[in-house]
């Protein structure tokens, strides 16, 4: 095969750079997510069976089934899941992403992001806030009630507001957030504020009752991470543009299901390369210890895959108070990521590195040769369903994912 890897990777990187993700709207997962059905439960990370799911993912599945009316109680949900009465699939195989457990069911409202360059769409649920939430595996009545409110009020109000607001270009918003101290994975304060600025006038213009509009605005204001569920599908839309460039060694997916970490590579269509997920090292909330922590979980590493999150930590020095380490560490993480990436973002610039573009386009050949792993910062879930977030910290993918991908690449392409 006469494939020049440099040319293939340049093509993949160019597609990532050219992507223009915009918010197209909000609808139910059933209406817009390809292949969605009432019996399908989408989750974060690579494929997994019920038996192998960790506590928070099992909890979120139980909550999702109760919310969707598939089961009346946690016991019934567990029985049905174990008996194969519901289907499971990774969000990534349905053009979407989900933070932490990442569970989505048919009736949930989802953001629709469209890459204007190629017309393809990506999806993500709306962020529920902190505390007892489905994405950390909680399934108590307050969790189900909030999800029902999001379906009945939050989703419809925002959908109507988006129809009245000027088009929101996610690349522009993320670029601005980076200039304001976010890295849009674990710090989304600026991004959320910018989004509220865009949406607030349009929310007021909708014809919904005043009380609903006030509650929606209060909900957005109370949740610094609201923007995460937009930065993730925007990053997914950019990387989707590099799927599946023949011969390219650029990583298009890094995702975790709480049990395994999985990656996918542009030139190795649809194949997952997995290994056990690591325990995240970081700052734990008072009262929790490392033995309480679930292994790494969530699709949010799509931000790092796109050059954001841990790759752009130099843009967000304040984040070290949340994930641990020092400001110098944050700067060094970003510097190091240039060694394993093929390019620098033309859109996302890091002010305190002289506006250098974020390191973009993870190359498995560089990861393997230099023995440097991608740097991810992330939330830490309690290992038991429903307890919630116990801290935040830093983690790397297992090297095995990249080594196995390299081996598969050689088998597929190298005939020498």
């Amino acid at each position: 095969m006469l494939i020049d890897i440099q040319e293939a990777n340049a093509k993949a990187l160019s597609a990532i750079q050219a992507a223009q993700p915009v918010i197209k709207g909000i609808d139910t997962a059933l209406a817009v997510v390809p292949g969605m059905n009432k019996n399908l439960i989408l989750h974060a990370g690579p494929p997994i069976t019920w038996e192998k799911m960790s506590g928070p993912l099992k909890g979120a599945v139980i909550g999702g089934m109760i919310y969707e009316g598939l089961a009346a109680s946690p016991a019934e949900a567990e029985k049905m899941a174990a008996a194969g009465k519901v289907q499971f699939a990774p969000w990534h195989e349905h053009d979407g992403v989900g933070p932490m457990a990442g569970v989505a069911t048919a009736s949930m409202p989802v953001w629709i992001i469209e890459n204007k360059t190629n017309g393809r769409r990506t999806f993500c649920t709306l962020n529920e806030g902190l505390g007892k939430v489905l994405r950390y595996g909680a399934f108590s009545q307050e969790v189900i009630d909030r999800l029902k409110w999001m379906e009945a009020t939050l989703g419809p109000v925002l959908k109507a507001a988006l129809e009245l607001a000027p088009e929101i270009n996610m690349k522009n918003l993320i670029a601005q957030a980076l200039q304001m101290g976010d890295e849009v994975h674990n710090r989304n304060k600026a991004g959320t504020s910018l989004l509220i600025r865009e949406l607030a006038p349009a929310i007021l213009k909708t014809t919904f009752p005043q009380a609903d509009k006030v509650r929606v605005l209060e909900f957005l204001h109370s949740n610094d991470h609201f923007f995460l569920n937009l930065s993730m599908p925007a990053a997914k839309a950019m990387l989707q543009a590099a799927e599946w460039v023949e011969g390219s060694t650029i990583v298009t997916t890094m995702a975790r299901n709480g049990t395994e970490f999985g990656i996918r590579v542009a030139g190795l269509k649809d194949r997952w390369f997995t290994a056990p997920a690591a325990i995240v090292k970081g700052l734990l909330f008072p009262g929790f210890e490392e033995k309480d922590c679930n292994p790494d979980i969530g699709d949010s590493a799509i931000t790092e895959t796109c050059g954001l999150g841990g790759f752009s930590m130099a843009a967000a020095p304040a984040i070290v108070k949340f994930v641990g380490g020092t400001v110098s560490d944050a700067m060094n993480f970003t510097r190091k990521m240039y060694e394993i990436t093929d390019g620098e973002s033309q859109s996302f610039q890091i002010p305190n590195m002289d506006f250098r573009g974020a390191p973009t386009g993870i190359n498995i050949l560089k990861v393997c040769e230099k023995n440097i792993l991608p740097q991810i910062n992330t939330g830490i879930a309690h290992k038991d369903a429903g307890v919630g977030q116990v801290g935040a910290g830093l983690v790397n993918p297992p090297m095995k994912c990249f080594e196995d991908a390299l081996e598969a690449y050689v088998e597929k392409y190298c005939q020498n």
Binding site: D4, I5, L365, N371, E403, L406, E407, N416
Partner: protein, 69 residues
């Protein structure tokens, strides 16, 4: 004076590769040095080194074939 004695009489010029601790120790003793980060390819993993070598060889063939066109 033997060449060895001559050598030890000179100012030492050091380039340190890999482990930063060696460079730091010399610096503490007042010996100027330049440290260069280096690590063995693939962290010394022979299987991965062999796979990377195959990719390199294949790419050389690809470039040669393209050049011959």
């Amino acid at each position: 004076m033997s060449r060895l004695a001559e050598f030890f009489g000179q100012k030492i010029k050091v380039i340190n590769l890999g482990i930063p601790g060696f460079a730091e120790d010399l610096k503490k003793q007042g010996i100027e040095n330049i440290h260069t980060e280096w690590r063995p390819p693939a962290g010394g993993n022979k299987k991965i080194q062999a796979l990377l070598a195959r990719v390199d060889a294949w790419q050389s063939q690809v470039k040669a074939a393209k050049g011959a066109r």
